[in-house]
């Protein structure tokens, strides 16, 4: 930053010297200097990282109050999960968002996130929470949620900027030591933490009654644990449900992290628990050395400067993965550098030569065992837990490599969301109507049922011949019958588009869907081949949810706020293959379902006409109608029984074996979907608000 300014001022200074070189100045004003190099130098100074991000908060995901709340929760939860997993503890997370009162009528929220992780050593707490770009994850290549070490400190800084309240951290390392409590402010000028309480030392919180009183006094909470950390940040924010909300984030996190339990209490006091479905931690990801292909020239120069290895060969072998002495020798030969030349003597030019040589040398791909995918089985479990549907499929691709970074793609798919609206029983519907606080019927429909958007809701209301703005509470029993009829008759499948859940290293990505390689690849995939409707380069239509997980030691995000994955061709290819794998299974399922439906129609059609034919025959010949009908019915049974076996798209005999789908497919009886819906309504404790959460899926 500083450098840039200096260069700008130089070019200005050089303007007059140009005119001396023969080019006549056009006006005398050009000659007058506005400032001298010396006076400008006075204004040129260091910019601290904290200051830079304080001014450019949108780069970190604090564009607006609503997103600020989400980002804060997200950073805290991500850190908590990383810490627990690294320590080998099954994570349990408590999230509590409270509205706090303030004089100006601004919206302020207090976010408290606690984990059951290993805790943080008291000495490190201020640096982790009060210094930007401080962390353990940046300098290593290992699959983790956080990368740069900006997130949580940036959230604390944002809170401080908007409310003036410090970040409050309480951490307990073990049963034997007392919990430690800090209140931290970030000094934006120096990018250093400033501890407010306990004269810059923080305070220990004694266990038992006395400690509880202290906790209470400081306006924080603590759920009794042997070890863990709780961070509390108060910030100016806005709480809102729907797309891009905290609720959505937590729900999506639960899908991709089936080993996590989350307890969530929202500002309105609704509690929701996501219990873990897997009792095993994902295997610990291994740290790897960078692969030569993934290193840029600047980085290479930097590494050369830092290294302690005496020769270039040793440097290459020790700092990179997949570089054996023979590979190193080939690189040196290609670069025209002696393989025993000292690393200290390698200048910029030689470094460039080495860099070029690396690109030209064939080096095997990095080891891919450093990545821990969620796994097909757990994806199915996670999806089924949260998304209602009839058909689930999952596929985990083998690991692959982009720019020297190993990565792995996983895809999960759930089909059959409309079933909730189509199969809801009258009792369930009444219950749901009772519970809702939606003001209009349209709102009720689109909030309660998966896959019903405003368009589909309008269709239903039109079919039921009701007014759009009627309050659901005012519906009479007869109206409910009409509504139920309409819901079952209207074809909603085309009214909804695929719901895409994107994940990078198990973290949900909620924004910039359009700019993300995942969404783009889904749109470019031909879903029509799998029996879905899809306009060209659009998301397919239908009651379908797709989750895509990219696991990598270094996820290429398009920006610091980590919202979209960049489109590398290697990544897109793996995405496509993964999507096609689940797509094929969906296609099989849909074809079979269509066939069953078709056969049913076929039998029905014969049965429908048999009565007429029997009637006509009896009219002409006087034979008893029932006799001939019964006889024809026998023929019909035999004929359609043949059809049951015969009918396949390709005319083959169909084998009604589940195995045909292959592994990792889950088919749910449609009737269960209804129960699922009701169970959810009940789980929300009779509070209608949580119904809206379902809508996210």
């Amino acid at each position: 930053m500083t450098k840039k300014k200096v260069r700008v001022s130089r070019s200005r200074n050089s303007a007059p010297s140009q005119s001396e070189n023969g080019k006549a100045p056009k006006s005398p004003e050009r000659l007058r200097r506005r400032a001298t190099a010396e006076s400008m130098a006075a204004g040129q100074r260091d910019i601290s990282v904290s200051e830079f991000f304080a001014k450019n908060r949108h780069l970190l995901g604090f564009d607006n109050p609503r997103k600020a709340l989400l980002t804060t929760v997200k950073e805290a939860v991500d850190n908590a999960l990383d810490a627990c997993e690294e320590a080998g503890i099954l994570p349990e997370i408590w999230v509590h968002i409270q509205r706090t009162t303030n004089g100006n009528g601004q919206d302020r929220y207090k976010v408290g996130v606690q984990d059951n992780g290993p805790g943080i050593v008291a000495k490190q707490i201020p640096l982790i929470f009060g210094k930007l770009l401080y962390g353990s994850k940046f300098h290593r290549l290992r699959m983790s949620r956080g990368q740069q070490g900006i997130g949580i400190s940036a959230a604390g800084m944002y809170g401080l900027l908007t409310t003036g309240k410090p970040v409050k951290i309480m951490s307990k390392v073990s049963v034997r030591t007392p919990a430690h409590y800090y209140e931290i402010q970030i000094d934006t000028k120096r990018n250093l933490p400033e501890i407010i309480n306990g004269r810059g030392e923080g305070v220990d919180i004694p266990p038992g009654q006395k400690g509880a009183a202290t906790i209470e006094k400081h306006g924080i909470e603590w759920i009794e644990q042997d070890h863990g950390t709780r961070v509390t940040i108060e910030l100016e924010a806005k709480y809102q449900r729907g797309r891009g909300s905290v609720d959505e984030y937590l729900e999506q996190t639960a899908i991709a992290n089936p080993h996590v339990t989350i307890h969530y209490e929202d500002p309105e006091g609704n509690k929701r628990d996501y219990s873990r479905v897997a009792e095993v931690l994902p295997p610990e990801p291994k740290e790897i050395k960078p692969h030569p292909y993934g290193v840029e020239l600047g980085r290479l120069v930097g590494m050369l400067k830092e290294t302690k290895e005496p020769t270039i060969t040793q440097f290459l072998v020790k700092s990179f993965s997949r570089v054996s002495p023979s590979v190193a020798r080939r690189i040196c030969e290609e670069a025209g550098v002696s393989n025993r030349s000292s690393t200290k003597r390698i200048g910029r030019e030689e470094a460039d030569m080495v860099y070029q040589a690396i690109q030209k040398t064939k080096i095997s791909n990095p080891a891919t065992d450093c990545i821990c995918p969620i796994g097909e089985e757990l994806i199915l479990k996670g999806l089924h837990q949260v998304v209602p549907g009839e058909f689930f499929a999952a596929a985990t691709r083998p690991p692959s490599v982009y720019r020297g970074n190993p990565f792995q793609i996983e895809v999960g798919l759930a089909y059959g969301g409309t079933s909730t609206a189509h199969r809801v029983t009258r009792e369930t519907l009444c219950e749901l109507i009772d519970q809702t606080d939606a003001r209009t019927l349209r709102q009720f429909l689109s909030m309660t049922f998966d896959g019903i958007g405003p368009d589909a809701a309008d269709k239903i209301i039109k079919e039921a011949r009701m007014r759009t703005r009627i309050s659901p509470g005012k519906l009479k029993a007869k109206d409910i019958d009409h509504l139920l009829d309409a819901m079952q008759n209207v074809n909603l499948d085309d009214g909804q588009t695929m719901n895409v859940l994107r994940y990078a290293n198990r973290v949900p990505l909620q924004f910039q869907a359009g700019g993300c390689a995942i969404t783009q690849t889904i749109m470019q995939t031909n879903w029509r081949a799998y029996g879905l409707n899809q306009a060209r380069n659009q998301l397919p239509r239908g009651p379908i949810t797709v989750m895509v997980h990219m696991a990598s030691v270094w996820v290429p995000f398009t920006s610091e706020s980590k919202e979209a994955v960049a489109s590398y061709p290697e990544i897109q290819k793996e995405l496509r293959l993964g999507l096609q794998a689940v797509g094929r299974k969906l296609g099989m399922f849909l074809r079979r379902r269509r066939r069953v439906k078709h056969e049913g129609e076929r039998r029905n059609m014969f049965l429908r006409y048999l009565g007429e034919v029997a009637g006509a025959v009896s009219e002409i010949n006087g034979i008893d109608k029932q006799t001939i009908y019964d006889q024809l019915l026998l023929v019909a049974r035999r004929k359609t029984a043949e059809a049951d076996v015969k009918l396949d798209d390709r005319g083959r005999v169909v084998d009604e074996d589940e195995a045909e789908f292959g592994a990792n497919v889950l088919i749910v009886d449609p009737e269960d979907v209804n129960e699922q819906l009701l169970a959810r309504a009940k789980a929300s404790g009779g509070d209608p608000e949580t119904d809206e959460q379902k809508k996210l899926f």
Binding site: R602, M605, F606, R608, Y609, L610, G611, E612, V613, G615, A616, V617, S618, E619, I620, N621, G622, I623, K625, I628, Q631, L632, L634, V635, A636, R638, K639
Partner: protein
């Protein structure tokens, strides 16, 4: 068989059998036997646990043959098998059985109805569904024709008639169900040709006419009638409202065969007009089984001709451009075996295609209102200038 049917019938559907009729005519008896046979085939198949089917003679160009000796179209012996237990045929099988049962009721009660009437008689929603037996009359009509060919019974034998279309005036006295009708005293409206014109309905009493002039449409026919063309030229004047219905064709056939009157046609100069002529002359593809008693191989095509725009000095604005369907249709007609070998016709159709326009008979009015009756037609007749 019939007797038994009537008895059982009373039990099955009481209101339909209120009026017992007198003894059945041999013709009706034959049709009843045919119907009974059709129903019997279903019973037998059901009894043997087989898929009931019926073999319906194919009504398509592929199943007609031009008999060059008799000079009309005959039906071949290809049939289409219609199954009850076939998804695409189940409904039409059911419909065919319904039409059969409907005509059985008509014969039993000795009533005649229009095909539209039969459609209403049979139309009801299928039990337990919202589906109608027949969605519209367009669905019913082909099934009736199927039933005709299936039972090899004529429409009147099924006690059905089509909508009346076509009128007649001229020097002819006939008897229609006992009423004597003088076709030279019909005023401006003319005698409406009924759908059934068999000898038991219409008998010719006296005829002074020397020929029959058949025109395409009502409007042209009115022109000729107002100018009393039939009186000055001593002829019978008919029209068929476009494609002539069976009644008109049958009547023309009877006038030609029984009274030995030559038939001249004055039709539009377009593929549609050519096809009307072809139907009158050789019989239609659809009703090829009736050609024997409908086709008039000696009928002549008087006009309009492709050369008439120049020959009669008509104004350019009467031209109607040919569209793609017209061109396609014209080429089809040129390839019909009964046109293929006639050089004059090939030349005529080629000329029309080259012209790129068609002419309606009314176009002659652009010369003079009565040009068609006073100059055009008399000139063609006296010069014997027609196409055969």
């Amino acid at each position: 068989m019939a007797k038994k049917t009537v008895r059982r019938k009373k039990m099955a559907a009481a209101p339909a059998a209120k009026k017992p009729r007198g003894p059945m005519s041999p013709r009706d008896q034959r049709t009843m036997d045919q119907l009974a046979g059709l129903a019997e085939s279903v019973i037998v198949a059901a009894d043997k646990r087989r898929d009931p089917h019926m073999d319906i003679p194919t009504r398509a160009l592929s199943n007609v043959r031009f008999n060059s000796a008799k000079r009309f179209i005959e039906m071949g012996n290809k049939t289409n098998r219609r199954h009850l237990f076939n998804l695409s045929q189940a409904k039409s099988f059911m419909q065919t059985m319904l039409v059969a049962s409907g005509t059985k009721q008509l014969i039993e009660q000795d009533k005649t109805t229009s095909i539209r009437g039969l459609y209403y008689l049979l139309k009801h929603s299928i039990e337990g569904t919202k589906e109608e037996t027949f969605a519209d009359q367009g669905e019913c009509d082909p099934v009736i024709e199927d039933t005709e060919v299936l039972l090899s019974a004529l429409r009147e034998e099924l006690h059905l008639y089509a909508q009346k279309k076509g009128d007649m005036v001229g020097e002819l006295i006939l008897e229609d169900r006992g009423d004597e009708i003088d076709c030279s005293r019909m005023g401006s409206g003319g005698y409406g040709i009924p759908s059934i014109v068999e000898p038991d309905v219409i008998r010719f009493k006296k005829c002074n006419a020397k020929f029959v002039l058949h025109v395409e449409k009502d409007t042209v026919w009115q022109r000729f009638n107002e100018d009393k063309f039939w009186r000055t030229h001593n002829c019978i004047l008919t029209h068929g409202g476009g494609q002539p219905p069976r009644g008109v064709r049958r009547l023309l056939h009877r006038l030609h065969t029984e009274l030995k009157l030559p038939i001249y046609c004055l039709l539009d100069n377009d593929p549609w007009g050519y096809y009307i002529y072809s139907v009158i002359k050789q019989g239609s593809i659809n009703l090829a089984f009736e050609s024997q008693r409908m086709a008039i191989p000696d009928a002549k095509y008087l006009g309009l001709r492709s050369i008439d725009l120049e020959r009669c000095g008509l104004s350019e604005s009467v031209k109607i451009n040919l569209n793609d369907t017209d061109r396609k249709r014209a080429k089809q007609i040129a390839n019909y075996p009964w046109f293929a070998k006639k050089k004059a016709w090939q030349k005529e159709i080629k000329q029309m295609l080259d012209n790129g326009f068609k002419l309606e008979v009314e176009a002659l009015i652009s010369r003079d209102i009565s040009y068609v009756t006073e100059e055009y037609t008399p000139a063609r007749l006296s010069e014997q200038d027609w196409l055969d």
